[in-house]
Each structure stands twice: as C-alpha cells, then as structure tokens.
C-alpha cells in the first residue's frame, strides 16, 4: 500500500502540465497497491490552484504558502517537501523533472534520508513492489531500478506519460512549514534574448552534432544542404558548448524547440535534451555512423553511414534535381 505524494510546480500562475503527467503515474501506483494519492502545492496566493488540483488527480492537497516559496528556491522547497511527507505519511514522492524539480528533488531526498531515482520515464507497481525505469548513458541504455528502503523520492521525465484527465476527491489542508534562514535567494528570471537565428519559422532544418567533426565542416557540409533545401542550419548542445556555433543555433530543451516539416539530424546521437527539442517535427531523417544511436528511435528514415560522405552527395543530387 503506497501513499504517493505529488510535488507540484506552478509556472506563470498555473500548475504545469507535468503535474498532471505525474498524477497519471501516482493514480496508477495508488490503484495497484490499494494506496492513496496526496499532493503538495507550494507558492504564495495559490490556494485556488490547490483546490483545483485536489479535484483533478491530486487527492488530498497540502498547501504550503510563504514568501520564500513564491519563486523557485531549492532550500525552501526541500523543507516544505519534508514537512508534507511527515504530514502525509508518504512513502513515495513524485516530482516533475523540470529545472526546478531537478534542483530540489535530490536535496529533499537527502533531507528525508530517502532513496532517489532520477528522471524516470516509467514507474510501475506490480506484486507489491515498485519498479522504476530511466535512461542512462545519455539515452543509449535503459536501467530498471528497485528500492530497498521505506521512502523513495523519484523525479519523472516530462512528456513521458499522458496527463491525468480523470477526477479525484480530496480536501485542501494548510501546511505549516518552518523555513527559517535561507542561504539561497531568488533574484529574477531573465528571459532569453531575442534570437539572431529563428529556427521556428524554417520548413526544413538541417542540424549537425559532434559527429560533424569540426566547426569548418558545418559551413562546408551542413549549411550547403540547408541552403539546397531552402532551410536553416541547427546544432546540438555539444557543438555549441565546444564553441563551434553560437547558442542561437542550438536545438533542444535549453535551446530552441522546433517543429519543421523536415528535420535532418547529421551526426547527432540523440541525447534526451536534443530529442525534446525536435521530436515533434513532421518528418525526421537521421544520418549517423552508430546504428544504436537513440536518434534512430525518433527518426522516420535513417541512414547508418558517415555523414561526410552522404551529406555532400545529397546536396549535389538535390541541386541537380532542382535543375
């Protein structure tokens, strides 16, 4: 019997979609174990959201309010989570794996002396035991994990489950949290500066990864293919980190999220953070030497070969075909 505590996150005045995704898992686990779902809503002036969530999958909601919780603060949130676990008797805490979640969840796990499983894409309860699944080695392998402790905190990959659409019954209860002095102070959120390269409008994006090899090859190999298709050039994170191309070319969760008619990934293995930024493209072609590269999981069409042979030949053929 599991008491599952959902730790919610508020963004721009509403509950993030990821809270409902986590609610799906929480409801399934509670049903499979004959347990219950409870939730924590943290913020300032968020009582209405607590009420809303209690009816839409959150069950009994603990509402923690205070100035320290008005913006993301890992120290303060961790204290609120500990208080909510004590008040709810939860043995499983689920948190959306967002930038706030990954900052707070492990801290809360340590404060609870609990087991921690990061970025799960699935959690299942069967025969009284709970199994966690997550990706390791940047998506190249999957790990199945079990816990042997009385409390577990798990963060849940966003977009991995379907949002909960049913209803739930529950009450909202105020939770007193003694936050005390904090060494962490939220200052502000700085929005992204306007992008010199706007990939969101391109019908075709040709992106290169580490496999392109050198910054020069982007100009010699990747850009010409993008030009031949009247499209734009993009890049994966390692390329930008290495300083080969500026940040404005980066496709992924920390760069631009794109949805072109055609996305051609060249020498990109397909780390989760990249896939999040392009997997809803209408059609995806992947060219990579490694047949096991995760990029082939999201691609419609794949070529297992050296991009430096295929891409120039493709550019030439397209140019010829256009006449």
């Amino acid at each position: 019997m599991s008491t599952v505590l959902i730790v919610t996150e508020i963004q721009n005045g509403s509950l993030r979609e990821a809270c409902y995704e986590v609610a799906s898992l929480a409801q399934q686990i509670a049903a499979a174990t004959g347990g219950s779902v409870k939730s924590l809503v943290m913020g300032q002036g968020v009582a209405a959201l607590a009420d809303e969530f209690s009816k839409k999958g959150g069950g009994d909601v603990f509402l923690a309010e205070g100035d320290a919780l008005a913006n993301h603060n890992a120290e303060a949130e961790s204290k609120a989570i500990v208080a909510a676990v004590e008040a709810s008797g939860a043995d499983l805490v689920l948190i959306p794996s967002t930038p706030s979640g990954w900052d707070t969840a492990p801290r809360a796990a340590a404060a609870l002396d609990a087991g921690f499983v990061s970025e799960c894409f699935d959690i299942t309860a069967e025969g009284g035991s709970i199994t966690y699944k997550r990706r390791v080695f940047n998506g190249k392998l999957e790990a199945t994990i079990s816990a042997s402790c009385d409390k577990v905190v798990a963060s849940v990959q966003t977009g991995a489950t379907t949002p909960f659409e049913g209803s739930s019954e529950g009450s909202v209860r105020k939770l007193d949290v003694s936050i005390g002095d904090l060494g962490t102070k939220f200052v502000e959120v700085k929005q992204a500066e306007s992008k010199g390269v706007d990939l969101s409008k391109a019908d075709v994006i040709v992106s290169g990864g580490r496999g392109v090899g050198t910054p020069e090859k982007f100009l010699e190999v990747i850009q010409p293919l993008a030009d031949a298709l009247g499209g734009a050039m993009g890049a994966s994170r390692p390329v930008v980190d290495a300083g080969w191309l500026p940040h404005e070319y980066q496709v992924g969760s920390s760069g631009q999220v794109v949805q072109p008619k055609l996305y051609i990934a060249c020498g990109i293995s397909g780390a989760i953070q990249h896939l999040v930024g392009m997997k809803t493209s209408n059609y995806i072609i992947a060219i990579n030497k490694d047949p096991d590269a995760p990029i082939f999981e999201v691609a419609n069409l794949g070529v297992v070969a050296d991009l430096l042979e295929i891409v120039p030949a493709l550019t030439e053929a397209l140019t010829a075909a256009k006449g």
Binding site: T98, S146, L301, A317
Partner: protein, 260 residues
C-alpha cells in the same frame, strides 16, 4: 579561499557500451575513461578563481585505481592537491552513498566553495550535488552557466527552459553544480603535468572518513537490477546500399514530402 572540486571518472564518450555479465552495468574492462564532461567545466571555473590569486583548489574523486589518472589530469590542469577515495567498500554506492562520502571529505576540509558538474555522463542522475549540499546544510544551485563571486556571496545564472536564466544568490559556503559550456576548459600543459607529479595526493578509505558500513552496496537504498539497450519501438526505416542508392532514396523521400 578554499575550493573543493568533485570529479567523476566516466567511460569515454566514444567507448563501446557492452553489458556486463550480471546485466547490471556496462563492461568496464578494456575501455577508455575520461573526466566527466560536466566536471571539467567545474574544475575550470575553480581554476579561474585560483588564477585570480584567490584560491587553494583541491580535487576529490571516488573510485578504483584507474581514477588516479583523472585526478592527476586535474592536477596537471592546475589543481593544487588531490584526494582519492579508493576503497572497495565504496563500490555499489547509490547517489546518497556517494554524497555521504563527499560530505565526509568536505567536513574534514571545510571548503568555502564546492564546484561540481550538474550530472555524470554515465548515470545521468544529477543527484549527488544537491544531496551533498543538503548533507552539509549549505545552499546550492544547479545548471549554473555564469558564476560571479563577491564578498561572501556567489551570484549564479542557472539555465532553465527555452534559453531563459534564473538568477540566484548564494551565501558562502555554498555548492555550485555547473552546466556544460559556461567556460572554455583548458588543457593540461606539459609544464603542468610535470609539476603535478610533486603535488600532494592523498588516498583515503571509507574507514578514514568514519563511514564504515554506511556506504557501498549494502547501504544503497536504490540499485540497478537490469540494464539494457532501449526496446526498439517504432524505429526508423533504414536506407541501405551504396552512397548513390542512399542519396536517391533520400531525394525521392524529400520530393514526396513536397520540399523540392
């Protein structure tokens, strides 16, 4: 100022990932290892503080003999000394176990700042840094892409979604887990590598840290039961053949999509 940098040695990014005999991790024999990419940026950030004439930088790593190489590389890059927690009793530690070991080292050393990477390239958990901060009861931030120090406070930009940054101010002592790309990482110079041979290199056991019985496989709260390549779902249709055949296939698909 004293700065602790936590490093993890991980399989090289291009290493072959074969599953080991009991199916719980990869086969580590005969593959190359390197310093976790995120951690190289953490070390660089610490060394930049040292270059400004302000810091004593020590590096810490947990693992078997091979990890000595990662620490010696860090010394060659400019760290002042190394601590290697080399003890079979640490094997099989989960994230919390590793955080406990690093916390014990930190309690012996009392650093003003701790730098480490946001996550490791092998386990990808991004868990040890916030756990270590909690165990030490100090503030932390993760995914830092900019770090500025001034009297007793550290102001960081942390990367959130869509290119936005969250600015946080931490009171030292504090822990900063860095995102890749926040600086350009230096290479060890030949002079640095020669100098590294004379730098202090301490090896510690789990018992030296007062943690006997509290870390390692036996104390792990979570463990990997199985590791495997992802189940192939709707995987891509693969075009094969000569370059000319493959290119012809791609061109015809692009035509079909109405993009030519």
């Amino acid at each position: 100022m004293k700065i602790m940098v936590c490093l993890k040695q991980v399989p090289h990014q291009d290493a072959r990932l074969d599953i080991n005999a009991d199916g719980t991790w990869i086969q580590e024999d005969n593959i190359k290892f390197e310093i976790n990419s995120y951690d190289t940026y953490a070390l660089e950030e610490a060394l930049r503080t040292k270059d400004a004439g302000e810091a004593d930088v020590f590096v810490v790593s947990i693992g078997p003999d091979r990890v000595g190489q990662a620490l010696r590389t860090a010394l060659g890059m400019g760290a002042d000394r190394a601590i290697h927690v080399n003890d079979d009793e640490a094997n099989g530690s989960d994230s919390l176990g590793l955080a406990k070991i690093l916390a014990a080292v930190a309690k012996q050393e009392n650093p003003d700042l701790i730098f480490m990477g946001l996550m490791s390239d092998d386990d990808n958990s991004a868990a040890v840094a916030p756990m270590l901060a909690q165990l030490l009861d100090i503030p932390h931030t993760t995914a830092a892409v900019k770090v500025e120090r001034s009297n007793g406070t550290v102001t960081c930009d942390r990367e959130i979604e869509g290119g936005a940054h969250e600015v946080v101010e931490l009171t030292a002592p504090c822990l900063i887990a860095v995102q890749t790309g926040l600086n350009q990482v230096r290479y060890a110079s030949l002079k640095g590598i020669m100098a590294a041979k004379k730098k202090p290199f301490d090896v510690k056991s789990v018992a030296d840290l007062g943690l006997s019985g509290q870390v390692g496989t036996g104390a792990a709260k979570v463990k990997i039961d199985r590791i495997a390549p992802p189940l192939k779902g709707d995987t891509a249709e693969i075009l094969s053949g000569s370059t000319a055949e493959v290119v012809a296939g791609l061109v015809s698909k692009i035509k079909e999509l109405g993009l030519l």
